[in-house]
Structures are given as C-alpha cells and as structure tokens.
Symmetry: C2
Subunit: 325 residues, 2 copies
DNA sequence: CTAGGTGCAAATAATTTGCAGAGGC
DNA sequence: GCCTCTGCAAATTATTTGCACCTAG
C-alpha cells in the first residue's frame, strides 16, 4: 500500500517499529475530519483495549513530528488532529452549532498574507485562518448535502479547473498574438505556443473527466480552492490587453508576464501537496510553463537585438526581462 | 474619565459595583498587548495580595461578556486577553521566538473571507487569522523600533491616509468628469462634488496633522491597516476609465460606483471602532458619501428621463442604479 | 434582606511525565 | 544488550466550581 511506504519514508531516524503504533497510525489515517485525542482513544479502544491513553498521545505527537499529522486548534480548549496524507494545508470554516469544520484554500488570501508579512518584516512559518460561524446545514435545517469528500480530489478538481481556464485563455492569447505579430519569427513562436496550449488543454480536459469518474458527485461538491485571479484564466488580462493594440515587443512582454504567473501558480500548488498525483501533474505543468517562459524571453531578446541593429529603437528604453523575479 | 463611563455603559444589568472588580478592570485596561490570566494575577498581586485567582478569572469572563475584553487563542494551550476599548478587531502576527504579537487589519483579506463564507453558505460570526513566524527584531537581532503604539492611533492614521487618497482621487475624478460632461446640469453636479471633495481633503489633511502631533513617531510606525484597493484612492480606477472616453451617463454611473465603494469603506471602518473619535470621523464621511451617492443617482435618473423624452435613447437599455446593492 | 461578589480549596480536563517492565534490532 | 516503546499512575497546567461568607443596593 502506498500509504505504508509514505510513512516508512517519514519515520524519524532511530525509531523502532511497533505493532501498537502501527495500529494507531492506521486507524488514524482511515478517519477523515479533525479528531480529538479522545476520539482516537475511543476508536482504538474498539480494536484493542490494552492500548493506553498515554501511548495514543505519544503516537499523535510522533505523527506530528513525522509530518503525518497536523495539530490544529479550534479554540475549544483541546487540540484536534488531521492527517496530512494527500491533504494539503488549508484554512477552516468552523460551525459553532454542529462543531463540524470545513476546509478551503484561497490563493488570493495566501498572497495577501504573504504581502502583509513581508511589509512587516515578518518571516512567516505558518498561517491559521478560521472562519467561525454557522454552516449552511445548521442554518437552514437542511441535510449537509455532498459534504466535503476527499480533499485531494477537491483540490485536484479545482486546480484542474483553474488550469483549464488558464490554458484556454493562453490559447486565446497566443492565437490573437500570432495574428497581431508582424515579425515572422515572433509569429511562429506564438503559433507554436498556441499549438501547445491546445494540446495541454486536451490533456487537462481528459484528466478532469477521469477525476469525475472517481467520484460521480465531485462536480456538485463545494468549492475548495478559491482563486479569483484565475477565474478566467491567468492569460485573460493579457488577451484583453492585446485587443487595445500593442506592438510585437509588447505582445511578447505580456506573454512573459502571463507565463511567469502561471508558472508560479503551478509550482506553488504542485508543492502544496504532501504527496499525490496532483503534485506530479502540477509540477509537470510548472516545468512546461517555464519552458514557454524561456522561449518567450529568448524571442524577446532576439527581437530586441534585431530591432536595435536595424536602428528601430533607442538602446536604453526597455529593460530586459529577467528569468527570475 | 471617559473609560469609566464607557464601562458603565457596558455593565450588564443586575451587576453590582465592587472595588475588587474595579481594580482588576483598571489594571487590565492600563496594560497593552495580550495578557494571559496569569500575567494579570501577577499584576494584581502587586497592588492587592488579597484578590484571589478565581476572582480574576471571573472578572476576565465578566469583561468578555461585557465587551470590554476579547479572549484570544494563540494555540499556546491557554488564552490571552486584549481589551477592546478604542481597539478594533484585527488579525495577528505572532512571533514564535519572543512570543510577542503584532496586530494588523486587511480590508482586502476581510473581503475575501466574506466571499468565501458566502460561497459556502456560511454565516460568519468572527474570523481568526494568525500569521505565525519570526518577527523582524528577532530575526535581525535589531531592537524592535517604533513597536506598535496605540492601535487606535495607527488605525486612525492609516484610515486617514486612505481617506485622503480617496478624496484626492475623487477630486481628480470629478474635475475631469466636469470637463468631459456636455450636459450643463450634470456638469454642475460634478463641479459641486469636486468642490466638496476639495473641502473634505483640507479637513482630512488637517486632522492628519493633528494626529501626528499626538505621537511624533506616528509616521514611522508600521502599517496597521492594509487596503490595496484604496492605495491610490477609491476613485482612481474611475478616473482612469474617464480618460478612455465616456458619455455623460457613463460618467455618472462610474461616479455612482465609486461613491458606493467609498461609502461602504467609511461605514465599515467607522463601525469597526468600539468607541472612539475615529468612529465619528468615519461615520460622518460615510454619511457625506451617501449624500453624494444619492445626488449622483438623482442626477442619473434625471438625465436618463430627459434623454428618453427627447428620444435620444431606447427605453430599456440601462438599468437604473439602486440605492442599496 | 437578598442577589451578587469573593476566597479558598477541591474539582475538571487535557495533556505530560517518571518509572519499571516489554520488546524490536 | 541497548535503546525504544508501553502501561500505569501521578503530576502539571489552565481553568472552573461548590460552598460559606461578605457587601452593595
């Protein structure tokens, strides 16, 4: 089983195997949601009466140290634990009525948090965001329809939606840019990229369909990953800029900016998964976007040099874009 | 003393006066930062040995119920308390090295939180956002320069900066709109509003200078209230739109949107203060912006009717703006 | 006089720890 | 055999409560 090898890889050096600990870890990983130490004591008690409370506390701490579990504090005066296997870091909505908690992620909020931390000279380690209130089910008395599900799937679903929107807007952007570009070489670059985005789009849509097969209710489950900036794809703003009329160099520069954004997005969310297929997909995309980025930058420089040689522009006007920024 | 009357106003019905409680409340309000119950026990112990731990816990709870104090949980396994007198709700940066905590507010993050809650059908009561990490002073070994200060002043400083930027962009917007508008009556409205924004701007700048007199180091203290959207004033985007060429009706509509935004901003942050001069200033602005808003809406309707009567436009095209939305 | 308010000590509640025995490598 | 894991009971920490007494209104 994959889980076992994952745990094996995380086991701290010098620690010994133990049947009891294995049992506790397995029972813990089988659960979903946020367990209190006591919940786990109760669950373990059903399987083996002779495991003591202290061992469970110690194992919980061991799992946190090993990165298998995360300790969360909902202000109840005791801690809860959630496992991190195929379960990215996230924020919480906490219902004060039914005491359940729901998970979400917001790329936009994370970005703002980073900005605040930077502005205050703070080296952030971890952020806690909890929205306390009352959930839909409790407020309306309706059953908690399609509640949650496996976070990994939700993450993948939303990430794929964003990726699809991104590739779609990228395709649109590159097609338009190809039409607008006068320089033949630059045009060919845009055409090539449009072609690639089209291919990626197909791959992504296929993967999205595969995902839906894993959970027929997947599409009806609530949003997990919020990312306003990418609602219409990360290239959408760029495509709009194109329609205002730009020259070849400007078009390349816009493309560079867009690719940089999507490279970052894929990298960041790829790394977010502790371990999963999602990680692979995303890091693969990140790499591909990086290749595009480099291609565009090369093309930008080439165009710039050719224009300079033919005396079309003054030397010092545009800053060369850097690969890292 | 103002504090006393404030507490008096919050005192729960049926509660009796007590010298001990008064002492605890006074000592608590004199402190700044986030105290643990134990910190307070220690502080009280210096003044009166005969006040018991239980009374302090009970008084702390009483203060929370009365709205004098807020109970915060930094995940340390115990609670801390902060007073709410002239101290708006806020988020925290928590240094894991020196254990101090710093406060900030982000209008942008709050907006996003509201959006997430709404998308999930969650009735939010309160949000907790904590950025855990290491503070600048601990990381660089430098002294904690100009650390914090009175939150009320910081809030007022940042809010005034935003207000000033807003009025400046508003002045810019209305001046341009007045120049662009062909309809004489509409032009007069814009001129009047430009005039008013100019006056407000003067008032605000004067208030800002007064604030600086209260704390000479105020300008060098770190940002407390983050609000990216208002960095260049809430009318900045509108002013930019104007330069793309719009007709009279569109100009009015943009103005309405801007005024609505600034009305909301002032109302929201005015209400944020538990009690203070800031509240007064902001709610006053909110009212003034509302008057502007209504004026613009009346003007929009009037223009629309006049245009309809003269057959200039088809009847059903533009939706009438609503006062609430 | 009577509903709070207060002190003291005991009770809770979650979690940790000391120590002696059990068990993996 | 050594070092880690485990159980048990006692300790710790933060906070709450029962109860008798005190005091303001």
């Amino acid at each position: 089983m994959i889980v076992d090898s994952w745990i094996e890889s995380l086991r701290p050096a010098g620690s010994k195997r133990s049947g009891k600990r294995d049992l506790i870890v397995n029972v813990f990983l089988r659960q979903q949601g946020h367990l209190t130490a006591d919940d786990l004591v109760e669950l373990i008690g059903r399987e083996d009466q002779r495991i003591s409370r202290a061992t469970i506390y110690r194992t919980l701490q061991w799992m946190v140290d090993a990165g298998i579990a995360r300790k969360v504090d909902f202000g109840e005066g005791r801690f809860r634990f959630e496992h991190s296997y195929r379960h990215p870091r996230h924020f919480h909505l906490i219902c004060k009525t039914c005491n359940r908690s729901f998970e979400f992620l917001s790329s936009d909020i994370e970005t703002l948090i980073e900005e605040v931390a930077a502005a205050r000279g703070f080296a952030q380690r971890q952020s806690v965001l909890q929205i306390h209130g009352e959930c839909d089910a409790c407020r309306t008395g309706r059953p908690p329809l399609a509640d949650g599900g496996v976070t990994e799937l939700l993450f993948a679903r939303d990430a794929l939606r964003i990726a699809i929107a991104t590739e779609r807007s990228g395709l649109d952007f590159y097609s338009r840019a190809a039409k607008l570009t006068k320089d033949a070489r630059g045009r060919r670059v845009f055409e090539k990229l449009a072609e690639e985005e089209k291919e990626h789009l197909g791959t992504l849509e296929k993967r999205y369909r595969e995902l839906l097969e894993q959970d027929p209710e997947l599409e009806s489950r609530p949003t997990f990953l919020f990312f306003k900036g990418a609602a219409n794809g990360l290239f959408a703003a760029g495509a709009e800029q194109l329609s205002k009329g730009v020259n070849d160099r400007e078009a390349l520069m816009i493309g560079i900016k867009c690719e940089r954004g999507s490279h970052r997005f894929f990298k960041r969310y790829g790394e977010r998964f502790e371990d999963s297929e999602g990680k692979k997909i995303f890091l693969e995309f990140a790499d591909e976007e990086r290749v595009h980025l480099e291609l565009l930058i090369r093309e930008y420089r080439s165009l710039l040099e050719r224009q300079q040689r033919s005396g079309k522009i003054e030397r010092r006007t545009p800053r060369r874009p850097r690969v890292n920024a």
